[in-house]
Structure formats: structure tokens, C-alpha cells
Symmetry: C3
Subunit: 357 residues, 3 copies
Amino acid sequence: MTILQIRDYLQQFFDSVELVGDGEQQVLAPAKIESAKVGEVSFVANEKYVKFLTSTEASLVIVHHSVAVDQFLPGTSFLKVKDPYSAFVFLLQKFVKPRVIAPIGIAASASIGDGVLIGEGVSIGAFAVVGDRCTIGNNCVVGAHTVLLHDVVLGDDSTLFPSVTCYDGTMVGKRVVIHSGSVIGADGFGFAPQSDGSYVKIPQMGIVEIGDDVEIGANTTIDRATMGSTVIGRGVKIDNLVQIAHNCTIGEDTVIASQAGISGSVTVGRQCVIAGQAGLAGHLELADRTQVAAQAGVSKSFMLPGMALRGYPAQPMRDQLKHEAMLRSVGAMKEKLDRLDREMKELKDKESMKGTA
Amino acid sequence: MTILQIRDYLQQFFDSVELVGDGEQQVLAPAKIESAKVGEVSFVANEKYVKFLTSTEASLVIVHHSVAVDQFLPGTSFLKVKDPYSAFVFLLQKFVKPRVIAPIGIAASASIGDGVLIGEGVSIGAFAVVGDRCTIGNNCVVGAHTVLLHDVVLGDDSTLFPSVTCYDGTMVGKRVVIHSGSVIGADGFGFAPQSDGSYVKIPQMGIVEIGDDVEIGANTTIDRATMGSTVIGRGVKIDNLVQIAHNCTIGEDTVIASQAGISGSVTVGRQCVIAGQAGLAGHLELADRTQVAAQAGVSKSFMLPGMALRGYPAQPMRDQLKHEAMLRSVGAMKEKLDRLDREMKELKDKESMKGTA
Amino acid sequence: MTILQIRDYLQQFFDSVELVGDGEQQVLAPAKIESAKVGEVSFVANEKYVKFLTSTEASLVIVHHSVAVDQFLPGTSFLKVKDPYSAFVFLLQKFVKPRVIAPIGIAASASIGDGVLIGEGVSIGAFAVVGDRCTIGNNCVVGAHTVLLHDVVLGDDSTLFPSVTCYDGTMVGKRVVIHSGSVIGADGFGFAPQSDGSYVKIPQMGIVEIGDDVEIGANTTIDRATMGSTVIGRGVKIDNLVQIAHNCTIGEDTVIASQAGISGSVTVGRQCVIAGQAGLAGHLELADRTQVAAQAGVSKSFMLPGMALRGYPAQPMRDQLKHEAMLRSVGAMKEKLDRLDREMKELKDKESMKGTA
């Protein structure tokens, strides 16, 4: 691909893509600015990476319009845009090497149950297990060793990497991606305590419903509902090792980072961001666009859209930061308190001397 | 099932089940009170759900004796009991749809090692691997893709969902359920530091023993002991993504919620509750009926039965809540301190003026 | 093995191994000192276990030179060394029972792709999937159900337990051990936010590189880089359920305990220790030999080697412990403040009485 071709490609998505330098050079691969070589394209979106421009060997760097590129090495060309990061992300898609998760067609070793409907252009990998009455949409990819229990539905164009498990009844939307080791639809953690201290299992009779355009990372678990559905809304992105308990509803375009845990019957709004290792207690609700900081522990509902939360128990970000700063001032308070105590003692001593004078 | 049949069923387990309304209606499915339709049964166990009784279409609702049901819609019948939640849980079991984890019999594609003993009524799914000298009790279900290394024992009536892994020597009791992706008996995390900064692996020679009636969620890990056994007591319930390290002992009927982590050589008593994302440091002991709050970090033993713990490092609940409230009062303390400081200054100024007068 | 043979074996690694008692007894197995029986060997490395020496039935106990062993039972012999724990660890390796992860050779049921290179002495278990163009070094063990996508390289003498998944392009060093359920090389969690609140996936084009002598626990996830490599250095030891995000570099001989999470583009130095459930925010750097306490949340870089960190946000251990102690003194401060307030009021009352006198 030449630099001119890259400019033309980016102009489909972005206004005013300005080329500085030689447009005929060939670009073969993307690279980080720290290590880019001749024939590679990189980007600088952050001031602190501008320094690498003086030494990079990259053939092409995508930068912001404001970068004065004339000062840099003549071997490097530049494309100036308004949002270099997004432009680079779009460009990356041109360089993706084809990844084969499973060859097209149904592997001879796959186990396909009774009454299964399989669309066109489907790939089902070695040793995959598709249970009775499952439906696999067009162009789906089911990786090797992935297990669908009975009555699972995959929408068109969805990809399950190897060794995913979907329990019976799981409904997966279109263009969904689920990475290896994730378990969708296992029983919710519901046990009724008995008077002798033991527990009786509460049957978990619901399912999991996953909307279109969802991506789920590796080794994540999403439990089926006790009744009804655990719902993952359209466009939700879930990282690795996340726990989503039974009966939760996650709003559209919400993002959940690694190792976060969402307890049972929680409702998370749309376009929320739950950072890594955060935890949400059961039966609470978060409004749209709520942001939960890493490791925060949310213990109650926050119904005002767009709040940022932090700490344990989680508080609005500004209050919590103020509280934390206040706590850091306790040492100074203690010193002041001790000084006042001394001064008080002196004053009282004087008073009492006067009294006895 | 008619409402009269449901009443008769519940009377086997509960005293004084009182029917109000038509007992001849058919009930086909359970549902949540918010969404129940004609032909469905639901329950209200909590005051805040009583409001739904004015609008529900449910054919049957299970309520507490104290609920004045006459005011509600004539289409709905009621069963009044002492504990509506438990009654509903028992009733749910009548509605469970049959779930096929693996058909009865040994799948032709399963790999069965030498010297394996298999009981009656066993199901072993596609591509399951049963290592040499394993014993599978009567009526066990071994899901597709589940791997038992050699010398594993499953007690009668146990169910391993697809893609469980049990390392060599794992002993599983009766009526145990293990969900997909869990790994039982992997090596404990034991490495001896060397003077050059590297580590030598400490052989992990023990096993994991799981008692009767244990349930283990998805993607949980329980490590084998260095020597002897990591022991999960009878009736323990473990959620998803939980870590139980080598040489732990978990007492009977203890419950461990998702993403909790228990370090090596910890002893947890009976009927404890470890909430989500809590962590226990190594080599400590918790007495029976200890309750550990979500995200708490327990750093030492608590030997008095029945304590509730919270915070990092975890403290008895009441002390910790008092401490947290105290911290929230620091802002007010600071204001008071500043006022006292001003007043002190004024007093001293007066004094010094007197002195110079 | 006789006690004399054990002494001779240990003398290969340790200076001055002193035998007290009968050297001819047979020792058949290792055991914990609390439960050791005749024919077993144990050790005491910690003062608080010395008490068990008065009652143990062990045939041999390894102790420190300073232990006065003459007072103990005549049935027990002793080996006195400088470091009883390390001596016992080395001795354990003599007792390890052979564990069969997969028999030598390629299982008939394994699926081997095109252009795969397989070394000598390799074991590939039942239903394992080895993708196109993979290279498997000499003496590697690939457990049942383990899946290697295409272009994966395993160095000599590496062991993948059953049900490991390595995505395309993963490079694994020599003598590496990966436990069941771990997923290496899944896509990094990278999505570019769009103006309508949805996200576009950022292609994850890099790989994971794992150095020699690394051990990785069960159900851990290590994501591939966006570009370039996520790097796990030589000798790193990683526990279960750990998350290592895209583009991280973990220095040699660093240890990461269970459920710790490392966000994207983090650089961890050599010989660091990250304790359980700790979290590191993205794009930060930790110097060599940094120690992060359990559940700590590290929010910025610490560039001085050898620091210990604790708390949220993580601070140097000493500062943080001082801070925590200071916070525990807030109750006392409050009392003092209230007393001063009363005294101030009294003083001012006196003053005002004087004024009006």
C-alpha cells in the first residue's frame, strides 16, 4: 500500500487529511512509534510521544494538524489529521492478517445434535459440540472445542473462539465475539438457607440473552437468570475474567473492564464504564453513563446519569477525592490539635495563677 | 398443574397453606411478579413488591399470611404461607425443564483410560477424557470435553458440566455439581526463592478432596495441597471465578461468593459466608459462622464464632463501621479545629494586650 | 530410601548435613509434621512447630542445627541443616509420583494442522488441536483438549496441561508450564469510542511472548499486544485467575499472585512481587524488586527499585502504614478536640464575665 493509497482510504472517514512528504513510498505494516522501521506506519496522538519523531525510521507517521513536521527527518512522510488515534485505528484494519479460528465448513470431528439449524458460510471447528435444536446463523464461526448445550441460538456473523461454553437456551445476537474459556449461562448462585445451616439449591430456570455487536473477553462468566433473562445489551464490551451474576441487565454500549464483578439482579444503564476489579452489590441500579473507578465497591443505587463513582463504599468522585484529601490532612490536624492543647494549658495555667495571685 | 395440586404439594413441606380464590386454574410456569402473565405463578416475600399485586396478571401468587388479598384482582388466586420465598423455591423445582448435560451412556467419542470403574446410569459426554484408574460413581454425569486426569474419584450422583478439569488424584463426593471451566487440583503456587532471585518449584504432591453436596461455579480454581489435601467440606457452595489455594480447609456449609480469593493454608470454619471479591491472607483461621463482607481483606485470624468482618485490614463490622463514620466526621473536626484556633488566637491576643496594657 | 541415602542426597546441595539417630530406617513418603507417621519424613523450619517434635511419629525430621533434638522420642531420627525448608523442598522432588498429563506420542484423536513441526519425545493428548504451521519443541507435553491456533511455537520441554488455549502466533519458551484453562493471546481490550456512544474494535495484531522457565496457573488470561508483543520475562511465576492485559512487559523472575490484574501497557520490573487481588492501572511502570501488597491499587509509576507499596491509591508501605495508624487515632483526636472546645468555652465565659464585671 502506498502512502497516497492510505491517504485516500482515510479520506473516506475523516475530513482534511493532509499529506506532507513523499506519497509514493510503500507501507507494509503498522508499528509503535518507539520501534517503527522503514516501511512501517505509526502515529503520535499524545504530546509526550512527539520526541520520538526526531529519531523514528517510520516511513509514515499520522499526526495532528498542529505538529510542525518540517523539522523532522526527510525519510519520513506525514499525514496530518484532526484525530490521529482514530485515523490509525481505522488504518490498522487494513493490515489485519487473516486469522483462522476454524476453516469454513463443519469439521468432521464436530458433534452436531438433532434438529440443529446451520446457516450458510458457517465454520465449526474440530471437536466442537452443538447440542440438540441449536440454531447457528449465517457466517458464524464456532471454534474448536466450543460446547453449545441444547437450544442455543447464535445470530448471523458471530464468532465463538475455541473452548467457549454456552449452557442450554443461551441467545446470542449478531456480530457477537466471545473469547476462549468464557462460560455463558451457568447456573446463578442461588441457594436458600435452611434452619440446620445447610442450603437448598434454587433452580435457575432462566437464560442469558446477548445483544448484537457484543464482545466478551476470555474466561468471563455470565450466569443465567433464576427466571427470565440475564440481559447483555447491544454493543456491550466485556473484558476477561469478569463476573456477571444472575438476573443482571447491562445497558447498551456499556464497557466492563477485567475482573469487575456484578452481583445478582443489578441493572446497569447505557454507556456506563465499569473499571477493573470494581464490584457492584446485588439489586442496585446505575443510571446511564455512570463511571465506576477501578476497585470501587458500589453498595447502593446511583440514579443520576453521568456520575463518576470511586472508593468503598463508592461515592461521587468529587466528594470521594475531597474526602481522601481530607484524610491525608489528618496528620496536620493532629499537630495543630496538639499545639492548641499546649496553648490551652498555658492559658489555663496563667488563669489559675491569676486566681491564686 | 392446578392451583389445588400446588397447594397439596406445598403442604408436604409447609404448615398451614391457605388457598384464597379459584383452585381449578391451570398454572404452567413460574415468573417474576413484575412480569407474570395468566397461567403463571409468582410470589411476594418483600413489602416493596406488594404494589405489583394491584396490576399482576398472574393466576397464582404466593404471599405471607398477613397480606390482605381480598383487595386484589379477582383473576388472581393466592396461597398464603408463613415463608413465601421458601415455598416458591420448593415450587420452582416442579417446573424445572429437563436439561441434558450428556445423554445417558458413554459417548462413542469419549476417551476412557485403563482400569476405569464406571457405575450404573452414568452419562459421559462427547470428547470427555477419563484417565487411567478413575472411578465414576452411579448416576454421575460427565459433560462433553470434561477431562479427568488419572486416579480421580467421583461419588454417586455427581455432575460435572462440560469442560471441567480435574487433575490426578482429585476426590469428589456424592451429589457434587461442578460448572464449566473450573479447574480442580492444579498445582499450588509454591516456589522457593533462590539467592540469585530465581525460584525453584516446590512439588505439589497432595490432592483436592471435595465433600458431598458441594456446588462449584464456573471458572473457579481449587489447587491441590503441597502434601495432604485441600479440603472442601460437605455442603460448601462456591460461586464463579473463586480462587482457593493449596492446603486450605473450608468448613461444612460455608458459602463463598464470586471472585473471592483464599490464600494458602487457610482454615475457614463451618457455615461461614465469604462475600464477593473478599480476600483472605495465607495461614489464617476463621471460626464457624464468620461473615466476611464484599471486598474485605482479612489479614489475621478471627477465632470467635459468628463475627462479621469488613474493611482492609478487616475488622469486626461494628468497629469498622464506627471507624468509617468517624472518618467521615473529619471534615467537621477540621472546621471545629480551625474555629478553636481562631478563638485561641483571639484569647491570646487579649492576654498579650492585657500584658502590655 | 534410607535416611543415610537422604543425607547423601542433601549433601549434594547443602553444606554440613548432620545426622542424629538411626540412618538405616526406610523413609517412604513426606508428610506435614502435625500428621507424619512411621516411615515418613517431615521438617520444622519455624519455632512454632517445634512443639510437634515431642509427639511426632515421623521416622525422620529435618531441623535447624540449633534444635536440641536429644530430648525427643528415640524412634525419630534428625537431619540438622542450615535451611530445613529448602532442604525439604529439594527432598520432596525425590518423592514426586509420576504424573501422566498425556502419554508419549501423538494421540490418534488429536487434530494436527498443515506444516506442523513436532520435535522428539513429544506427548500430545486426546483431542488436542495443533493449528497450521505450529512448532512443538522436543519433549513437550500438550494435554488433552489443549488448543493451539495457527503459528504457535512451543520451546523444548514445555508442558501445557489439558484445556489450555493459545491464540495464533503465541511464542512460548523452554521449560514453560501452563495450567488448565489459561488463555494466552486473546485479543486485548481495545475499543475506540465513537461520537454516538458506540465503540469500534481496535484490531489486536500483536502476539504474546513467554520466556523460558515461566509457570502460569489455571484460568489465567494474558492478552496479545495491539502491535508488537505482550512479554512475560524468563522465570516469571503467575498464579491462577490473573489478568495481564495487552502490551504489558513483566520482568524476569517476577511473581504474580492469584486474581491480581495488570492493565494495558504496564511495565513491571524484575524480581517484583505482586500479591493477590492487587491491581495496576494502565501505562505505568514499576521498578525492579517492587513489592505490591494484596488488594493494593497502584495508580502511578514507582521508579525507585525495591519499594513496597500498599493501599489505594498505593503508597510506599511505611507512609501508608503511618497514614493508616494516623487514621485509627482520629477517635482520640475527636475526644481531645471536644475537650478543648469545652475548655475554650469555659475560658471565654470567664473572660466575658470579667468583661461585664
